[in-house]
Structures are given as C-alpha cells and as structure tokens.
Symmetry: D2
C-alpha cells in the first residue's frame, strides 16, 4: 500500500507529472488470458480527453496509450501491464508566476510545505492530468467485470441540478456535459460559458451507478466496499465529498423510511428500495451500487486572488492558461474508472477468501 | 492491507463479535517510549459507553480495556499493543427471529451472501460494538499527536441542525448529544425521545475538527490525507457520506468564492478562509482539518419492515432489544478516534519520506 | 504489510512478550465455513510445548489456546480469528543481570539501539515464546490446505547429520528430536545432553517438505513462493540460512545435473528429479516443496561471554535460567507452521488472480 | 504488497518482459530533494550489462535508462520515479521449440500451469532481463544511503572457491568475475570457458557486505532486516539459498563459538566477531551486514534434457541462443541493488516509527 498505488489484489500504480515526458500506470494482479489491446483503452481516454468542446480545457493532446508489457498475442499474461501516455502538449509557457507564488486552492503551498520544493509546471504531480492514467487502468479493470455495467453522469453544475423526472441515460452521450437531462444540458451551455467568460469556474456533482454487481463483494471491516469507494473517489483531484446511496439525505430520514424492504424475488431477495446504494455492512447487496461525488470549482481562475509568494510576501495571483471552467465534467470518466478499479479488486478479493477450499 | 487492518505505518487491526467472549485491537507501529496505561484509554471508552442516557442503547457494559502487550514499565516498547475488552453483557436473548430472517438495512443478508452464514447474535462482526476497539486504538494514536487537538460534535439530528451562531465548544460535554448548541440540545431531547418511543430511529451529522496539524501531512496520490479520512469515516457503521471542508456545498460555489486566500502570517501563510477543510492536493495546509460525516438512522427499529427469510419466504421483522435511537450520537468518539488514527499514521509516514537523508 | 503481520490475503498478526500476561495471534482472511475449535490447534502447540524432555527448556506452560472470535457454531465465519495463549509461568526471577548488560548473540543490544529501551524479561518480544502464536496460526492455515501434507524434521545437530539411507518418516515422532534416522536420534541424546551439561548449546538444520501442492502457486516476481518462504523462515528466531531444494549444493552442480527432467505423466509432466525443491520461477511445479533451515545455537548459555553494560562498561555475562540446549528442535513445528501459513496465503492469492473471470 | 512491488515505505514495482518493447521500474516513496539524473543510474546498469565478456551472454543491449517522472531540475520531487529501459536487441529468433516444449529448470511449465499460457520469447517475464529494472531502482535507493557502502563479489564458481587469505577488494573490478581473489579469477577463466564450450553452465555463490549501517534498522517480527533480505535475495532469478552471517555454518558451531562478544568501543559496543552478519533479533547491530547467496547453474544449456511438450509428449530440448554460462556473475550488481533497496526501505521505516514524537 504505497503512496501511489491503489488496490489490494488488482492493483494499479500511477506515475508522471503534467509537464514531464509522459505519464503512466502499472496494473498488477490482472487475471491472465483476457483479450486486451490499445483499442480497448483508447475510447475511455478519448472520453476524458481535453479540448473536445469549449467547456473543457483547450490543452490538446491525443492521449494515445501504449501497452508496454503484460500482453502477449493479444491477451493479458498475468504479469504487470505497463501503460504509457506521452505528454505532447507541454507548451513552453511562462510559469514564473506560479513558481514564485502559491495559487490558493491549489496544492502549491502544500507540496512546498511537504517536499521542500515542487515541479510547478502545470501543477506537476498534483495536476488532474494524472487522471488519464486512472482512466487507462480503469479500462483494464473493466475486463474483469464483464457482467457489470458502470456509468456516470453530471447531475448538478453550480447550483443547477437535473430533474430526475427527465432522466434519460441515452442523453448522457449527446451533450458535452455527460448530462442525462436534455433541458439541464441546454441551460448548462449558458451557465458554463458565462463562467468561462468571467474567468471563473463552477463546481459539479457526478453520480455513478454500477449494476450487475452480485451480492457479496466487499471485505469488512477495513476493506468495506463503501470505504474503498470513498477512498477512491476522494483521491480524485478537486473532489470534496462522497455519498453512498442517499448519503447525507439518509441522515434526515427515519429508520423506517431509510430501510430497504425486501420481498422474495426470482434470484434471491428483491429489494423494494435502494436508499443504501447497494451496500450494507460494507458488502454489496446485489442492488445497483450508487454514489455521488462533489467536485469543487477549479482553483485555476482568471480572477485575482490574494496570496503569498514563496518568500512570504503578499501578492495577487491569477492562473493563466487553458483551464476547465468546470472540472467535474471531465471527472465523469475518472469516476467511472475508479468505480471499475475498486470493483475489480473487490471481486478478486472476494473469490480469494470465499471460494471453496 | 488486510481486511481488518487500517493504516500504513501506524496500524491497527480489530477483532471480535458483538456476543463473543471479547473484542480487541492490536496497534502496531506505535513509537516506543510513550507513557501509556489503561487509564489513558478508559476515558475515551467511557465517552462511547452505552447506557449512559436514555438516548443511547441500554446495553450495559463497563467496557474495561486491558493492555496485554507492548507496554513495559508504563511506556510503549515499539512492539504490538494488544488491547482487549471483555463482553460482559451477552444477554442470552432470543435471536431466533434474526437468525431466520434478514433485517433490512442491516448487514444480515450481505453477510449471508458473502460468507454463506453469519453469527447472527447482535449483528456479530457487523455490530457497532466493534467501534469500541477503534476508540481504544484511537486513544493510543493520540499519544503520537501531542500537539494536535481533535474534537467532534453532532451538528444535526434528523433534519434539525444546530445554529452555528450559537456554537460553543464548551457545551459539547454538557449534554448527552455532544451538541455545541445549547438550544439545539434542548430540542433534541424531545426529538430523540419521541423517536425512541415510536420505536423509530434518527440519522445525524457529526463534524470533526483537528487543529494543530502542521502543513505537509498526507501522501499523494493514493494515500492523500482526505482519501484516508474518507476511507476511515466510511468504514464506521451506519456512515453514508463524508465531506471534507465545505464538501458538497463547495460544488455550488464559484472558483473565486471557494478559494482560500492567503496573506503573510507569522509562521507561514495565514489563510483568510478554510473552504478546503485544511487539505489541498491531499496534503494538510496547516489550517484545521475539518470534515462532516452522515450517519443513517439505525435499521434496528420496532416498526415492522417487509423482509424475506433465509429460506426465501416473505416475512415482516422488527428488531427487538436495546438499541440506540440515534447511532450518530455515540459515533462522536468513534469519529474522533478515526481522525486520530489517520493523523498518527500520516505523521509517521510523512517523517519516513520527508525527513532529511 | 505492517511490522507484525505476515501474509497478503490469508494474514496473521502476532502480539505479546515472553513475560506479559499473554501472547496471541489474529488470523485474518481465513475462508468461512471451515470447522475449527481449540482442539484443532492444541496438538500443534503441544508438539512445540516446552518442558517435554530434558532436551528442551524446562519452562513449563500448558500453552492452552483460546479462540476469542471468528468462529460461530464450530465454523469459521470469515472474520478475524483471535487466538490467545496465557503466559502462566512468568517466574519472578531476577532479571537484573540482563537488564544491565547485553547478552551477545541476543537481540538485547539491537532492541535498545532501536527503541531506546526494552522489556528485558525473558527476551520480551524477541523471545522464541512468540513462535507459539505462529504455531497456533499455522494450525488454522492447515484448514485451507486439506490436500497438502506438511512435515518437518531435524536433519542435523551440531555437525552430526542424519543418514538419508536410514530415513524413516515414521521415526520422526518416536524421539524427542523429530529425527527420521533412529541411529542419529540415539547419538543425539548424548550429544545434546553433553552440551546441556556443559552449559553450552548446539545448532541444527531443519528440513521441511510439503507434498500435495499443485502446480501454479506463487506470485512472481515479488511474491514468489520461494521468496515468501525465505522471508517466513528467516523471521523465525535463531534462523540464519534458508535453502530451497538443493540450495547451496545446486551452486556446485552443472546445468545438466541440476535440471529436473520431465517425462509424460498421468496428470501432467512427471519429474525425474527435484533439485529445484518444487519451485521454478517462483511458482510451484507440482513436485513436493522442499526447504532447509539453519538454526544457530542459542546464545543463552552458562558459559561466560564478554560483553558491555548499558552504561558501556566491560562485563562478562552468562544467561541463567531454563534454556533449550538446541533451539532447532522446537523449531520443527514452527517451520511447519510457517510453511502452512505461506502456502495458505499463496493458494488464496492464486485463485484471486487466476480464477476464471 | 502486490505481486510485482517490493518494499514498505521506499517501494519499487517492476514491469516488462524480455522481448517486449521495454522494461522498467517505478520507485515510490523516495525522499524529495536528492540529486538524481540518468548518469547516477547508468554505471550500475553498465556493470550488469550483458555482452561485456565471453563469460556472459552475448545479447547486446545498451541498457540505457530514461527517467520519465519524479525528478525536477535535477532533484527528486518525492513523487514516483519512473525508470524505463528499452529492449533494443529483440532478435527475431525462432522460439518455436520453446513455445512447444518446457525447458526443465526454467519457469516454462510453472507459468503455463499458473496462467494457462505464457510469453515464451526469451523467458518473458521470468527472464533475468527483469533484473536490470532492479539495478536501476537500486541506484535510486543508494541516494538514501549516503553513509552506507555496499559491495558484492563472487566467492565461488562451480566447486571452486576463493581463498579468503587472498581476499583483496581492489581486485573485484579487475576481472570479469567480480572476484576478490586474483588467483581464483585466473582459474575461473578456464573453468567458465570450458563450461561454455561444453554448452553447460555453472553455479556460483555471491557474497555481499554493507558497511556503515547503524544499529537499529529492521522491524521485528515480520519485517526483520534478515527476513526482508532473504525475501529480496530469493526473488532473484536462479537463487536457491540465502545465508546471513555464518548461515548454515553457524548451525555447526557451539553457542560460545557463535556468540559475537562485545567490548566497550568509542561509539557504542565494539564487537569482537561477526558470526551474526550484523543482525540480531532482526535488527542491525552496527556491524557490517553480511550475506551469501547461492545461484544455481542456468538451465539454458546446449546439452539435451528430457522434457515434455505442451501437448504432453516426450521430447528432448536444448536452449539455443545467447546465454550466460554462469548467471551468478551478473548476479553481483543485482544482489547489491537488492541490498540497497532493502536498506533504504528499512532506514525510512525505522525513522517513521522511532523518531521522537
């Protein structure tokens, strides 16, 4: 369990900085014999890729993944799968402002305080660029989950939420916001564009659902499924909150409202509700696993903010460059990837312990 | 990284079921030479102890901790500290209902689905009784944090929240709800008692603050301080949501509102706000570390809920016995303990990597 | 992977000092549904128990194990199994010599150097008494290995080795040395007794064989079966060397002598030799897994040795008390236990990764 | 603690196969601020590089390392250090023999048994080529150990050992065998060349010494320094035995002979002997850490060996291609690297636990 590794049996480690030569992930513990090529990974990276609309950063990188190991004759071998994505758009911009002063809300000061100095180019290791590595690793994790369907969407930008009465999963791919509510998507065009023009930024809420997860995954007490998901989601850049099922709303219900009653079903109990988000006692119940993730507005804005320099002098700073007005949008494929990575790990962990002896 | 162990350098493992002979924790990696006796742990257990008011379960156990190893002549030796608490109130009640049918919202069905059978007495391993072990381990963790002050409180029960204008830390110990708002505490007496009389239960929100944490703790990217805290909190029984700093509210702010501006201070930067909850890029900033935790209403209620039996037949079930009408209340010392355990681990991890070579 | 935990999926943690109130182990990750009671563990502890002959320490402890958790209605539940053995013979002897000066060859000086002080009573945590916890945990591991047969024996004491031509597994239980060669066992009576009377001690070599291990266990490259076994064996008190298969003798063979040729067999390849000790590339081959372990002579002797005191003054020291003249003998059940613990872990790890998706 | 990761705080993961596009290592947990460039790593790779004499494989690869992350302006940043070595000599030879039949002594059969199939080109993941990644990671580990001097040498090839009376450390770099005994080196020229001409191979013993290790490193009981070293060494290709200090020879000594007496020294105790190899109770004593490693003769020989095909038919096989007649020789820099990697990890682990609170 090192600093840059996640998982217990199906594990991945990421490396790389925003403006180094490349970033990458090493996936370890993947079962052997699964068909895998770059073409299985690339679509997920494309979904996350910057520069696809004016609502995301204008950094342009093809984000082409290369598989450097762990695959032979088109199948995984059971050995580590090394994935590399070259950084092609390391624009030689002027980072002297960022080098000198701390951008509030960014990791600049914290990295300096921890490590004594930092790679200030584009945020270095703390850049959301690292999430491309997670998305690539997540694509591998999906191989382990052929019967699980994972999808995420944006349910809220700023304080404008979708109307669940208009929820249409088919809409998610039809707009640049991964929004399942067509009307909300239309409103958000204006909302996000205004923020962008203001040089400001907006927060978002991303929801993710995994269906097809059988009852029994999750390793209480300290590898509970919900605990692992919370860690996974909170590790994503800009995330400040995680809810499983009803989350904080459950705290406002009474016991009898919050219970998920059961009735006999065809294949085990049929649940009449899913306040729990598909997890009880840290173990999946067979219902869809549901969670919500809060993304803060990015701290990279063109509006000056008070700060201090490395030398401790007062200064004002703006973050020039090409930034997402709403980082939550591109968080969607990242949330999906982390969901897949946790579930793949828990699936293998479950069969390790609970297969027959 | 096993199922029942938490932490990386300062680690603890817990064991035990609600109705077995005892429960316990093994704390590993504690620095040597720290003064420790049972008297340093007992007050924290007493704070969590059941049966102290009519607002908590009437199970009565002294919860006396014994130190079985790792301490010599009153000081920690650097070897594992084994803590044991005997279960004295294993009332020989009738568990046949629970043995036969699944209590919705409880881990009953999930445990059966995972393990094939379960210790149904009082919830077995999934009982909140296990949290006594965490509280004991947390008391040891505090030894490692002499300069850190940790306190938690209930900020909301049901849908009745405190008024922060009336926040008074001194009030927290003056009422059975760990409530910092005297008026809210008075209202809650009625609220919780009504729920208890109805055989129902209420959710709660617990907030926790750790001050005195220096800038630099947290190990990005997959042992980020916020990620570890999220995992720790979500692993507590009945928790369904975790927020760091403003959490979901941050998703509704604009970038310039959510930034925590800095000005030169006496000892590093002085922050003018703390939307981030003291963590940026997964690393502490030197501000107070703040988080919020949502506890669902306990599923142990006297109101019948639809369910199925182990044999798959429809049934209705109520949970007889002595239950907390609001488990969030006794969650307060548990949240504090988990905060201490995460911070102790991160402190040691930080000095492992970032001390001078 | 904390300091006092071993294993990856099937894991155990031990705690306790020689002269504390108790010692114990927590076994985590054990599959559910396996029949287990104290009676399944006790025989292994009895085998290791001190005081059974004049060739082992005269410390007399019943070493009765108690299961405190993880078992319900006679079967493992999949939750942590807490095992405790009380220390009953904590004779209130005079430890002032050991407290003041370092016994050469013992961990006294190293513990002081590391931790600043030490529990000097009977060696504290560094006492071989801890191995009782391993033996108890190992008995649980055997439940996971119903088709594997593990046995160890002493092949050499001092410089007197067994004659493999007289090897008879049935003899192992017939003498106090776990010796498979009846003649050697007779010689060793004199040899060990002489050493005991001299106040000296003897080293030993223990060999261990596990048959019934299928091909495929072991997780290259850093959880190779032989690497895990080496770590496991070297962690035993007094062990200074580990060989897999032919070990150092293999270094003196030529490639064609050391190869283990194969011929078609009934159930996969039939090997014509087993120089490799049943492991190739870190993975079991289906042949018996074989290893050898070197135990040094215990440093607890009645012959004075030059040393220094804690204050840095020259002194001579003898180790009074009840000591094994040849600790390797009682190492036999410990080596077996560690073999079982590694194999159980590797079995579960293998099925985690290599089961069908 | 995954399959392809080693270490606890200072950790490295390797990836890559013999004939894939590249191999590499990710070093995680390295302290920040240490000067590092490719030039600090390359000399160690050059020492291990094949093709430097007729006594090693004729595979010719420049083995040039690239640092892809974790270094900024010439210093480590505290983030993962990604090291990559391209495979340039993936000669398109005919692997049909190896694809069809199992080479005895190689991992071929075991990999097939475990994973269902294997990358048979040059041994795939089980190739000793992977050790180049370790050597690169080991060079980084040395940055953490400025006061520790590590060197290894070959003490024995076949059954021809060096004469310690002629031991001269200065000789080690003067011959292609890393041999400290000039006369032995001369004899070995003939010995190894004869084996090569015979199409056979020879085993070897490598010894390694680390001086400058202070007393106190090592984390009992399951991260003991000797236990970690044993795991590290046994994970190297072709290694079959590990001894700490006197190893198996200690088993033939009496207690009073094996003790390492102490006398007051300038800076703590002065030891009068070092049978223990600098480790007691799993903790360094301040004496030089010494170990011995047995390398078997490589199984890649031109002499036909009986085997079976994947289809289970009898066959004879020889291993064509460019092989080391004595793999132990090139094991020298690998043993040194593993020593450095273990010590760096233990140093950081020690200061995590045992620094002042």
């Amino acid at each position: 369990m090192s600093f840059n590794t996640f998982g217990r049996v199906f594990r991945f480690s990421t490396w790389g900085e925003s403006h180094g030569p490349a970033i990458g992930a090493v996936v370890d513990g993947c079962p052997p014999g699964l068909p895998l090529s770059e073409a299985d990974i690339q679509p997920f990276l494309d979904k996350r890729k910057p520069g696809t609309s004016k609502f995301t950063t204008q950094r342009r990188e093809p984000d082409e993944v290369r598989i450097l190991s762990g695959v032979f004759e088109g199948r995984t071998t059971g050995t580590p799968i090394s994935l590399m994505i070259e950084n092609t758009d390391q624009r030689s911009k002027d980072y002297s402002d960022v080098a000198k002063a701390y951008r509030p809300g960014h990791a600049d000061y914290a990295y300096d305080a921890k490590y004594g100095f930092r790679d200030y180019r584009g945020g270095g290791r703390s850049s959301a660029r690292e999430t491309a590595s997670r998305v690539a690793a997540g694509a591998v994790a999906r191989l382990v989950l052929p019967d699980v369907d994972i999808f995420a969407y944006v349910s809220e930008i700023g304080d404008d939420a979708i109307d669940y009465a208009r929820f249409d999963a088919a809409e998610i791919g039809n707009n640049p916001f991964f929004c399942p509510d067509r009307e909300a998507a239309q409103r958000w065009e204006q909302l996000v564009d205004d923020a962008r023009k203001d040089g400001s930024s907006l927060g978002a809420v991303v929801e993710c659902v995994a269906s097809g997860v059988p009852a029994g995954w999750g390793a209480p007490l300290y590898a509970k499924l919900d605990s692992e998901l919370a860690a996974a989601m909170m590790s994503i850049n800009a995330v400040k909150g995680v809810e499983i099922g009803d989350g904080f709303a459950a705290a406002r219900l009474r016991g009898e409202e919050n219970a998920d009653p059961m009735r006999p079903g065809e294949d085990g109990p049929a649940f009449l509700a899913n306040h729990a988000g598909g997890i009880a006692g840290g173990i999946s119940t067979g219902q869809p696993v549901k969670l919500r993730v809060a993304f803060k507005p990015t701290s990279s804005i063109l509006i000056p903010v008070e700060t201090v320099t490395r030398e401790g002098e007062a200064s004002d700073i703006i973050t020039k460059g090409r930034h997402d007005p709403c980082v939550g949008i591109r968080g969607v494929p990242v949330v999906e990837a982390m969901m897949a990575l946790v579930l793949a790990d828990q699936k293998l962990l479950h069969r390790a312990q609970c297969g027959s002896v």
